[in-house]
Amino acid sequence: MLAYLLRRILYAVPILIGVNLLTFTLFFVVNTPDDMARMQLGIKRVTPEAIEKWKQQHGYDKPLLVNSTASGAGKITDTIFWRKSASMFVFDFGYSDDGRSIGHEIVTRMGPSLAIALPTFLIGLIAYVSFALLMTLFRATALDIAGVALCVLLMSVSGLFYIIGGQFVVSKLWHLVPISGYDGGIGSFKFVVLPIAIGVASGIGSSSRWYRTIFLEEIGKDYVRTARAKGLSELRVLFRHVLKNAMIPILTGVVVVIPLLFMGSLLTESFFGIPGLGSYTIDAINAQDFSVVRAMVFLGSALYIAGLILTDISYTMVDPLVRLS
C-alpha cells in the first residue's frame, strides 16, 4: 500500500512538470514579456524605457531559459523559467501585480472557499444519490419519467440562471439573506446558506440522472435477482446491495473533486462576493494578472492529481476485490 502510494506520487511528478512546461510556454513563449508589458501599459505610445522598467519591476527582465551572462548555477537559476515557473514546485508562487504574496493570499482565501464548497459537495452528494435512488425505486413509473424529465430540464438551464434567479428571489424579493458578502466564524452562516443551496440545486439535474443510470445498470445484474429471490424487500435490495455495488462508479466521479474544493467556485464566489480562491482567480483574470493565473493553474492541477490518488485509495476501502500493489 505504502509502496504503491509512493509510486503514484512519483508518477505525479512528470505530469506536474508537463503542466509547468505548458504554462511556461503559454505565458512566456507564445507572447514575450515585451508583449505583456505593452498590454499592461496600454498599446499605443509605449516607450521602450517604460517596457524595460515594467519588466524589471515584475522580474521579467531575465532571459527565458539560459542566462549566458551569469556564471555557474546562475546560468540556469537566474532565468525567468527558474524564477517564475520551476519555483512553483516548492509552492513558491511569488508576488501578484499589486505586490502581495500569492502564497499568503492562497492560504487565507482557502477558508471561505471551503466554507461554501464543502457543504455544497456533501449536501449535494446526499441529495443527488437520494433522488436517484428514489427514481430507481419507482423505475418505469410515471414518477420516474417525471423525475428524468425534470432532470433534463434542470440540466438545460444555464448555471448563471440559478445564481441570478436565486439571488433575485431569495435576497431581493423575500429579503431572507443578504445578497452578497462574507463574515468569519458563525456570522458567516447567513452569507453562505444561499450560495450552498444554489450550488446544490444547479447540480441536481445532471448528477441525479447520472447516478440513476448507474443504479439501473446495477439493478439489471444477477446478484439483484438472487437477492430478490431470497425474499428481501425492494428497499433492502436497493440499499444493501445496489447502493454498495454502485459505489465504485460513483466514487470515480466524486473523490477526484474533493481536493479541488479548496479552489472554490469561480461563479458562485464572484456573484456572492465571497473572498475565496474562486473570486481571487476571477479578479486576476479581469486584471490580467498573469502570475496569479499561472499559480492557480499549477495549484489546480496539483490538487487534481491528488484527487486521482485519493480515488485509487478509496477503491480499496469499498471494493475488497481491488488491491493496490
Binding site: 505530469i15 503542466v19 508583449d35 433534463v152 440540466m155 431581493k172 493565473v293 492557480m296 493553474v297
Partner: protein, 455 residues
C-alpha cells in the same frame, strides 16, 4: 444597391462543417446498416420535435453566416466604396429590428421609455413623464389603444402563422408519412411554432416584443444574433476535438507501447488542469496577441470573429481528452477481437486496419460524445463570457447579453427582459439539443439498449 460578399473565418469553417455534414448524410443514405440507427432516432417523437426546433435555430444561424458589406453612396468618381460594417442576410431580413433603436431601456411591448424624463408640452411647461418611444407603438395615436392593438396583432399574426403552418403541414404530410415519422407530434409542434412565430413577427413590426436594452437595441434582435455565436461555439469546436481525439485515441489504443505512453502523458497533463483555468490562461494569452497585432484586422467584425475562432480552437484543444480516452479504451478492446487478428495475420497494413475496421466501429462513440458536448459548449460560452474569457465584448452572444443585463439587477424597478430573453433562448436551444442527444445515444449505444430493457 450593390454589395460585396464577405467570408469571415468562422463563416468558412461553418461552410466546411456543412459540407462535411452533407457528405456524411449522403454516405449514410447509401448504406442501409448505417441508416438503421438513424431510423430509430426518427421514430422518437421527442427527437423529431427537438430536431425541428434545432433546425430553426440552425436556419437563423446560417442566415446570419452569409455576410456582406453594402456599398456606400458613391462619393468620389466611379470607385465603389464599401461600408466597413459587415452585415448578414439575417440583418437584412430583420432590418427594422436592427435599425429601430430607442434611446435606452423600454419594457417588452411598451410604447414609452422605462425612465421618466423632462418633457415640455406645447405651452412650454416642463413636466416629468415617460416619453413615447421613437418606434415602439409609434403608429398609435393614443396609449390607451395599446392593449387592444397588441391583442389584435397577436391574434392576426398567430392566425397567419397557423395558416402558413397548415399549408406547410399539408405539403409535407405525404413526405413524412412515407418515412413513417411521428406525424402528430410534428404537426402539433409545427403549428405551435408557426403561430408563435407569426404573432411575434406581426408584433415585432410595430413594437419591441422583448423590449430594448441600455443603448436602445431591440432585445429580440440581440437574441436572434446570439444564436449564431452559440451554434458556432457548439459546432466549430468539434472540428478541433474530432481529428485530435480520433487520431490520437485510436493510435494509442492500436499501437500501444511508447506511442500509447506518449499520448497518455499528453492527455493526462492537459486534463489535470481544471478546464476553466486552462481556457482562461489560453484566452488571456490570445488577447495579448490580438491586442499587440492590430494590423491583422481590417474591420472590427473580423477581429471579433477571429477571436471567436480562436475561442473554439482553445475550447477544442482543452476538451478532446475525454473523447480520446474513450476511443483509446474502445480500440484496446477491438484490437483483441478475432476479425482484427485475422486481418493482421493476412498481412493487411496497419493504416488499412485502422480505417477499415477500427474507425467504423468507434463511430458511435464519437457521434454520441459530439451531440452530448454540444449543449455543454453552448452553456459554457455564457459562463466564459461572464468570467471575461469568452467572446469579444463587441460580439453579440448570450454571454455578453447576460453580462450586460446582470448589472441592471439592482435597479428599481428591475430590468428583467434582456436576462429573461437570453436565458429563455438558451434554455430552448439546450433543451432541444439535450433531448436530441438522448435519442441519438439511445439509438446508437448497444449497451444502453440492454439496460433499458432490463429496467
Amino acid at each position: 444597391m450593390s454589395f460585396t460578399p464577405v467570408i469571415l473565418w468562422s463563416d468558412a469553417l461553418v461552410f466546411l462543417l456543412l459540407a462535411v455534414g452533407v457528405a456524411a448524410a449522403w454516405y449514410i443514405r447509401r448504406h442501409e446498416h448505417l441508416l438503421l440507427p438513424w431510423r430509430r432516432v426518427a421514430q422518437s417523437a421527442a427527437a423529431m420535435v427537438s430536431l425541428l426546433v434545432l433546425s430553426l435555430f440552425l436556419l437563423v444561424g446560417l442566415l446570419d453566416t452569409l455576410h456582406y458589406r453594402a456599398a456606400l453612396p458613391e462619393k468620389n468618381g466611379g470607385e465603389t466604396v464599401y461600408s466597413p460594417e459587415v452585415l448578414s442576410v439575417l440583418d437584412k431580413l430583420v432590418e427594422p429590428l436592427r435599425t429601430h433603436t430607442e434611446k435606452t431601456y423600454s419594457a417588452p411591448l411598451a410604447v414609452t421609455l422605462y425612465a421618466k424624463e423632462s418633457l415640455s408640452d406645447a405651452q412650454g411647461n416642463v413636466l416629468r413623464d415617460y416619453p413615447r418611444l421613437r418606434y415602439g407603438g409609434a403608429h398609435l395615436a393614443d396609449e390607451s389603444q395599446l392593449a387592444s392593438d397588441i391583442l389584435k396583432r397577436a391574434l392576426l399574426g398567430a392566425l397567419g402563422g397557423l395558416l402558413a403552418g397548415l399549408l406547410l403541414a399539408l405539403g409535407g404530410k405525404r413526405w413524412l408519412a412515407q418515412r413513417r415519422l411521428p406525424l402528430r407530434p410534428l404537426l402539433i409542434a409545427t403549428l405551435a411554432i408557426a403561430a408563435l412565430a407569426g404573432a411575434t413577427a406581426y408584433l415585432a413590426a410595430a413594437y419591441h416584443v422583448l423590449g430594448t436594452d441600455k443603448v436602445g437595441q431591440d432585445v429580440l434582435y440581440l437574441s436572434l444574433k446570439s444564436i449564431r455565436t452559440g451554434l458556432i461555439i457548439g459546432t466549430v469546436t468539434t472540428l478541433v476535438t474530432l481529428p485530435l481525439a480520433l487520431l490520437l485515441g485510436i493510435a494509442a489504443g492500436y499501437f500501444r507501447g511508447w506511442v500509447d505512453d506518449a499520448i497518455q502523458y499528453v492527455y493526462t497533463v492537459l486534463s489535470s488542469i481544471p478546464s476553466v483555468l486552462l481556457i482562461a490562461a489560453a484566452v488571456l494569452m490570445m488577447q495579448v496577441t490580438i491586442e499587440t497585432h492590430p494590423q491583422w484586422f481590417d474591420t472590427s467584425a473580423s477581429r471579433a470573429d477571429l477571436r471567436l475562432v480562436f475561442l473554439c480552437l482553445i475550447l477544442g484543444m482543452t476538451s478532446w481528452t475525454g473523447l480520446c480516452r474513450l476511443l483509446r479504451g474502445e480500440t484496446l478492446k477491438l484490437r483483441e477481437l478475432e476479425y482484427i487478428q485475422a486481418a493482421q495475420s493476412f498481412g493487411v497494413s496497419s493504416l488499412r486496419i485502422l480505417t477499415r475496421h477500427i474507425v467504423p466501429n468507434v463511430m458511435h462513440i464519437i457521434l454520441i460524445s459530439l451531440v452530448m458536448d454540444f449543449s455543454a459548449l453552448v452553456l459554457a460560452e455564457a459562463v466564459l463570457s461572464y468570467v471575461g474569457v469568452g467572446v469579444d465584448p463587441s460580439m453579440i452572444s448570450f454571454g455578453t447579453m447576460i453580462n450586460a443585463a446582470r448589472l441592471e439587477m439592482g435597479r428599481e424597478p428591475m430590468v428583467w427582459w434582456a436576462l429573461a430573453a437570453a436565458f429563455g433562448f438558451m434554455l430552448v436551444l439546450v433543451l432541444a439539443a439535450n433531448l436530441f442527444a438522448d435519442a441519438v445515444r439511445d439509438a446508437f449505444d448497444p449497451r444502453l439498449n440492454r439496460t433499458e430493457v432490463a429496467a
